[in-house]
Symmetry: C2
Subunit: 587 residues, 2 copies
């Protein structure tokens, strides 16, 4: 029905006839002539209808925005002074010789170039929203990204293998989406939170290298930028250690950035232990573009009389740290109040600070409500360790280490953005040597920091019998500009070790058998050493396209209440359907 | 951890050291030496352990089938007379210099070369079953097939776009799998039976060319070779008519067969109308490799007195047809009884026949219980039309056309296989000009033969106001050796036409609004002409790999009762989970 995409008609076609199909982006009458910007996936082209051809002109007079047209016409140069150098088609226009209205359109609910349309409306009329060039670019780039990933992995011998969507409930994870079974009354499938166990089973099946771009499901409250269904690039390989896997994945990510964004990433990626990341940035996914760092003051503050500092400093679970903001002296009282409110979201009970006005003036040159509680030696240590200069401001955090890290870690990022301190470019980072377990204060038990199938990093002769909190795992996360885009590990491939880890997690033998019996069986029947990784595709695409939300890189996302304003899902179903599934609603 | 795959070590590596990882396929002791066939994804290699190296030999003595080993060794030629020309590695062996047992294995539940293992056991220990070379080949070929599809479509400008899995119940389809919504109590998502409406919405979004390899779900009774979740190659394009789409899809399928099987398919594919297919083969998916055809006798039988034939022949819904089996005179009475039982499954109340012993002998040369009911002229017509020869057998069907077509159509295929009449090779066929609607006798209403969004093929000025049964759609099915592997159509892109089709299907305005309101809205806001197709990936892979069941081309299929013997899904869930989802079980 067409010879070219609208957006690709350029001076090379001068004098030729083309047939185009597309949407009316805008129609305007000027000097007795009708101009139509015709739009398709590839861009816009200007089509001109002349009154010399009255039949066509009459049709052209009736067309409105978003009408779907087929136009046959001749490519000609635009008159001098009307050339648009920003468009590939900007030097030409198409003189309409034949015009067919393929479909009319009512007035759309919003204009494509409107930028303050509410999200509910955008999602309800998603088919209009997706016509915006920006949305088209994002979905095109997403397809390009998955294409590059697939080609890279296939070249490396990875096999695209599908795993079930109707599967067993995930223990130890987020809330599952359940699917009632009709043929097994009273039983339920769960939609997968990830294909973790299946990909491990594929390694036990000898398939050696597996990948899949796969939908995953979590029925969580959609605070932050989460979606009930999201997509993972899921990878597993046998007979390869963490160095091998990280190296291969780095190569893939570099290929991705080179091909899709034409941005070379430095090689190798930086690496940092979990402990260092928490110490320096208060986060296991530090954004290295922000040049601010936490400075530890726990030892300095331990002896002071001021309990706000010495209490946490003397608590084995506590931490006292500072964050120096260069030129932070400019901050107003209100700014500081706002930041205090901000860190309170992370549990911080205050945000002490010192303004450094004049280092040479001693205490007189400092301004701070807490100064009077700190002896001179401590003040000197603080200024020394933070490397403070005139005009700086030093924030303090003193609490349980978790709270200090989360609040100062978040403050660091916020200050970076607010104060224009974020470097340009990409700063990929591997975070390694995660703790195996963390203690859940609420449930008073150890939980797996990654998942219960992650292998511990044991030194020669080391067992799992010591302090669980001191054990380090063979896990690795890939962090990009402060966002975790991938995470993986070497898995446990031995029955005894897996049973011991279940035990440490408080999963009894019977429960382990019930939930993971098939895994324990499989470990006994020739399980190879293996490991893998999963990338959050939506987040990675969001970062690479510069979108602000993963909803902007999905064709049909759900709202924050997990609904679809377009199709009105979820919806009521008939009583007969529920009866067949052996369930009923609770009233 | 390795330098090569086991299966790739060949004479080019003679004299070199290699490190291999894999499974013990078999260990045997011979002449004081231990031979291990080590297996990985790429095949087997023979490893030899010599008593000259006692430490390694001692380890080698303990290994058993399915142990996982790492072996460093030197490649050397096999002794004369022990070369195995069937294996890539058959000219060499690896002398073991270092041996690590990466994991032990208990005795596996079945041997990999056992071929009468029950399916329940195979699925329960799927990770052992998948180690069989045949299963590995199938999954590898499946990955290769999807890879070729993706590259072809991406080269043609198709964008891989994901559509939701948590969506709205499908009206007019098979039974849905439902997912209770936690955040919208009493409401349910449905898992998609296909992304049909979403792909149409993507065309309305101006994305122009879409594809996706996507999981679909149908909660049907799993007779035949069906699975609750299956995979579709789903395609949609704008501004292209059926010729364009069929041409492109033919090119893709040819590419697939050329690249994966190195089998050129003839071009263009054959085409046949639905009417011709039913008339000649009693099926809308005829296997053209079978040279048998139905011969219509309705007009011939109308005047006979024998009611068994004249009744259906005079019924406007009836049909009388014959199926000639060359050399069918060889069939025994028992054979014919068996075929009579076979057609009874399709509703046929009997299976009349004539054995043609000697054409020159007139009636005396024929043998048949029904001969006495047929006048000479009719017998002559039968022999004439069927082209009977001495030694043939002619079967008859007389009933409602639907029953005759189904029973003789099935008999045709069965005879073809039983009698060795199936030609080798691939016979792709487009079936076109399907009826828009068929009358559902049970519900006494018209139903869509494809789906309610399929466009009718209207001649100039033709409307939908005539006999619905006479309307032909713009649908096309791709049939391969008697299996429907793909089906698609040009869709309705105009509101009025879509509303009229809903009306003919007995879907009232209110119901249409409730179920398809978003589609009707979208049709009014600039919907382009569009169409598409979907391929059943599992079936296509099954055909291409020569597997007997789609279960053999899926990594983790379900049983006939939609259960997974490996993970024991579906399973019981806690009362707390159900409460959160606002549902309860029926007792």
């Amino acid at each position: 029905m067409r010879t070219h995409y609208c957006g690709t008609v350029d001076s090379q076609l001068l004098g030729q006839e083309v047939t185009l199909c597309g949407w009316v982006n805008r129609r305007r009458d000027h000097g007795g002539v009708i101009f139509v910007d015709l739009r398709d996936r590839e861009g816009l082209v200007q089509v001109v209808f002349d009154p010399d051809a009255p039949e066509i002109f009459a049709i052209a007079e009736r067309i409105r925005s978003e009408y779907v047209l087929q136009v046959r016409g001749r490519v000609r140069a635009r008159p001098e002074g009307t050339v648009n150098p920003d468009l590939r088609t900007g030097a030409i226009e198409v003189l309409g010789l034949e015009l067919t209205v393929l479909n009319a359109s009512e007035t759309p609910p919003f204009q494509l170039d409107e930028d303050d349309v509410g999200e509910e409306t955008r999602l309800r009329y998603r088919y209009v929203d997706l016509r915006r060039p920006m949305m088209q670019t994002r979905l095109k780039m997403r397809a390009q990204i998955t294409g590059v990933m697939r080609r890279f992995l296939e070249d490396q011998g990875f096999l695209d293998i599908e795993t079930p969507m109707l599967t067993k409930a995930t223990p130890e994870g987020a809330r599952d989406y359940l699917v009632p079974s009709r043929t097994h009354p009273g039983s339920f499938f769960a939609l997968p939170q990830s294909p973790q166990l299946f990909k491990q089973l594929l390694m036990m099946s000898g398939l050696d290298r597996y990948y899949q771009i796969v939908r995953c499901f979590r029925d969580e409250d959609l605070r932050a930028d989460r979606q009930p269904e999201f997509t993972q690039l899921d990878i597993e390989t046998s007979f390869m250690d963490e160095e091998g896997i990280m190296g291969l994945m780095e190569a893939m990510v570099r290929e991705l950035f080179a091909q899709v964004l034409e941005e070379p990433l430095h090689s190798p990626f930086e690496r940092m232990t979990y402990a260092e990341a928490m110490h320096r940035f208060g986060s296991d996914k530090p954004d290295l573009r922000i040049p601010l760092e936490l400075v530890d003051l726990t030892d300095v503050m331990a002896p002071v009389e001021f309990k706000v500092f010495s209490g946490p400093a003397q608590d084995p679970q506590g931490r006292v740290a500072a964050l120096r903001l260069p030129k932070g002296g400019e901050l107003s009282r209100k700014d500081i109040d706002d930041y205090t409110a901000y860190v309170s979201r992370y549990g911080a009970r205050g945000l002490a600070y010192i303004k450094v006005n004049d280092l040479n003036a001693g205490r007189e040159g400092l301004q701070s409500p807490i100064l009077k509680f700190l002896p001179d030696t401590v003040v000197v240590d603080i200024l020394d360790r933070t490397g403070a200069e005139d005009g700086d401001l030093i924030f303090f955090g003193a609490d349980k280490a978790k709270i200090v890290n989360e609040s100062l870690g978040a403050l660091r990022v916020k200050l970076g953005h607010d104060r224009g301190l974020v470097d340009r470019g990409w700063r990929p980072l591997w975070v390694i040597d995660f703790p195996m377990f963390e203690f859940d204060d609420k449930d008073q038990r150890w939980v797996a920091l990654h998942h219960p199938f992650t292998a511990p990093r044991l030194q020669d002769g080391q067992t799992l019998d010591g302090d669980p909190g001191a054990l380090v795992s063979r896990a690795y996360d890939l962090v990009l500009n402060g966002t975790e885009v991938g995470g993986g590990s070497i898995r446990i491939h031995q029955t005894a070790l897996q049973e011991r880890v279940f035990e440490l997690l408080g999963i009894g033998q019977e429960e382990a058998r019930e939930k993971f019996g098939f895994l324990l069986d499989a470990l006994k029947l020739g399980c190879p050493p293996h490991g893998g990784i999963a990338f959050g595709l939506d987040r990675l695409v969001m970062l690479m396209t510069g979108a602000q939300s993963i909803r902007d890189v999905m064709a049909f996302p759900k709202t924050q209440t997990a609904a679809c304003p377009l199709t009105q899902a979820p919806a009521q179903v008939s009583e007969a359907q529920l009866k067949e599934l052996n369930i009923r609603k609770r009233s």
